[in-house]
Symmetry: C2
Subunit: 373 residues, 2 copies
């Protein structure tokens, strides 16, 4: 595992909230630090800093771009140690990538896994610019001695369920080294240097996978010949029904459609108000498995569904698609539901999929709309 253990009650095992247990101060402290995408910001093709979701496991580390080094070592023929200037000298690529937190939807589960309490908004899309990981691995001569894992180490440091650690995740070498997977060592977001909370000065971006794979404040890439068993790979980010089972790893983003809640909100409840007549409905949809091919709307409690117009850019396969339709509001209260389906025939469920970590809950989005004259 990653480091010293034995912090006692200071750092407790994961748990599920009791039946009547409200959001705790600890969960609220996470919600006040981290933030989702305000849903009206789905209107922007790319999400600027402050709108793109952020989850920081420990503290945002104090980093210095001028002295930052990225090492590529382990089972490689030619270990590398590169500064930012050296990375910028290499051929750069830009990918538009939708990232989503694996815990998105967690706070709507019953019983509720106690952790960062996302409702539905932990998503964002940005243009990430940097060096292909496949190019760096090739330059270092990785894979010449057979397959293994590639371990990514960030500079953020903390303790989690008793294990002190730098944040660390791995990808199988065949994935990490495959140019078609478009894994990126990124130094720019939407054309500007990475902001502190998004990994300044350097981060990994793993298209199609939940955000835990995209290690921020990246300082080391280590090729190993055995599977990585670190905390974030084998203890956290597993689909488990019981605490004592190994569980399946959390990897690819499940399909999801979100709508910009129409009309205007009540401040306190965020309840939506519209006036009678045609109401444009727009939003985004994405899946890590395959392109989204269908977004459906229901306004009758999910009895019937109608297709919306989906617009995707085939040149940007890792980015969300846009969808739009028009709905006619009549006085009263309505429930609007949207549901995405991808080309691999994954469809969003109408009942939340539950697991102890609260991962991958891609339940359909339901928006209650009050039409008043």
């Amino acid at each position: 595992m990653d480091g010293t253990t034995g912090f006692g009650e200071l750092s407790a095992p994961g748990r599920v909230a009791g039946p009547d247990e409200g959001i705790s101060t600890a969960e609220l402290a996470l919600a006040a630090r981290n933030h989702g995408l305000p849903l009206e910001a789905l209107r922007y093709d790319t999400s600027p800093p402050g709108l793109h979701y952020v989850l920081v496991h420990y503290d945002i580390p104090a980093t210095d771009a001028d002295t930052w080094r990225l090492t590529v070592d382990g089972r490689v023929g030619r270990p590398l140690s590169l500064g930012l200037a050296e990375l910028r000298e290499r051929p750069a690529v830009t990918h538009r990538v939708t990232l989503e937190c694996a815990g998105n939807g967690r706070a709507r589960l019953a019983p509720r896994p106690v952790s960062q309490p996302w409702l539905v908004e932990a998503v964002g899309t940005a243009d990430w610019t940097g060096v292909p990981l496949s190019a760096l691995l090739a330059e270092a001569g990785a894979g010449e001695e057979g397959a293994g894992d590639v371990v990514f180490t960030g500079a953020d440091h903390g303790v989690e369920r008793g294990t002190e650690q730098d944040y660390r995740r791995a990808l199988p070498l065949p994935h990490a080294a495959d140019p078609a997977r478009d894994v990126l060592v990124a130094y720019a977001m939407n054309g500007a240097p990475l902001p502190p909370q998004h990994g300044s000065p350097l981060r990994l971006v793993v298209p199609g996978w939940y955000g835990m794979a995209s290690v921020k404040w990246l300082r080391a890439v280590t090729v190993t010949d055995s599977p990585f068993t670190g905390f974030q790979q084998t203890a956290a980010y597993r689909f488990r029904q019981r605490a004592d089972e190994p569980g399946e790893p959390v990897t690819v983003i499940a399909p999801r459609a979100l709508m910009i809640p129409p009309g205007f909100p009540d401040f306190m409840t965020r309840a939506r108000v519209v006036r009678p007549g045609p109401v444009p409905l727009t939003g985004r949809a994405w899946s890590g498995h395959a392109p989204v091919v269908r977004v459906e709307l229901s306004d009758d409690g999910e009895e019937s569904w109608t297709d919306t117009e989906v617009t995707a850019d085939p040149g940007r396969p890792w980015a969300w698609a846009a969808w739009h339709t028009t709905w006619t509001a009549t006085p009263g209260t309505h429930r609007l539901t949207v549901r995405a389906t991808d080309a691999a025939d994954h469809t969003q469920p109408l009942t939340a999929p539950w697991n102890r970590g609260g991962f991958g809950n891609n339940l359909v989005q339901r928006v209650e709309v009050h039409c008043v004259r």
Copy 2:
């Protein structure tokens, strides 16, 4: 008041949570949209977008800088209607300003007022660039017909406690028109155009006052000859013990010091871990009344206090001061408390000041630190 009323249960009166009532889904939805300053980001002199706190009352409006107009009218001799280019042609000023949400500290109150559930982190400092409001009011010939209020209208639209409205606040004309108050019509934050969530393309910045005065997405400045009685002036943002009293208006920022929690955190509880030995402690402190002249630290449950080193830039009177000291950690659990005092002799309280809206709770910050070997 501001607009149509009568939304019934859709938009209810303000309330205080019951004794055992946890954070509701509605409060959590606000916490997931809005965000505070992660406390380690107190290390930056200015807070970049995504780290600077954000509170959006309704939705972030869809705005277009190219067609945006700001009107200055009402009781003025020469009404103005200005686009962004015309504002940029005028002499620009930049002020470094610390803004804090009036509701900062609300979620720590007992009983808890139900609203945006800030703990302690709703603060940020930025360099704001734009045109002095005093210059625009002089150009429009405001004040030549006597005193009154200046009403600022934003483009964000919603309903709050039954009142449909565009967000709107006012300042007394003598304050708004006083060049020494440095009230700014800002089009840039930290040298870049305003991001959507901070008021793109134009906002008011009122140095020294809680954030509710700094109207975002500013589209109209209206000089009136009678006091403004809009919702955000007379219904919201009042210090009240009972719902049926008029209350005192919320205005100037009370003093507060915050420390960067030392060491490293536990992921879930944010509990802090340090190792034995000297621990540098740093943070910021501010007050809207007068410069902060003293920041004290206690490590013995507030029995005794020692002064820290406070560094302020006299050329930036509206920005937070920095403070630092060194504390020696010994094994065990410690409570560190910091307390700011300003030159007008306002000191942070050791007991939270309570009011129904949860405004101005500048209780001292207490950080529990676990020193382990």
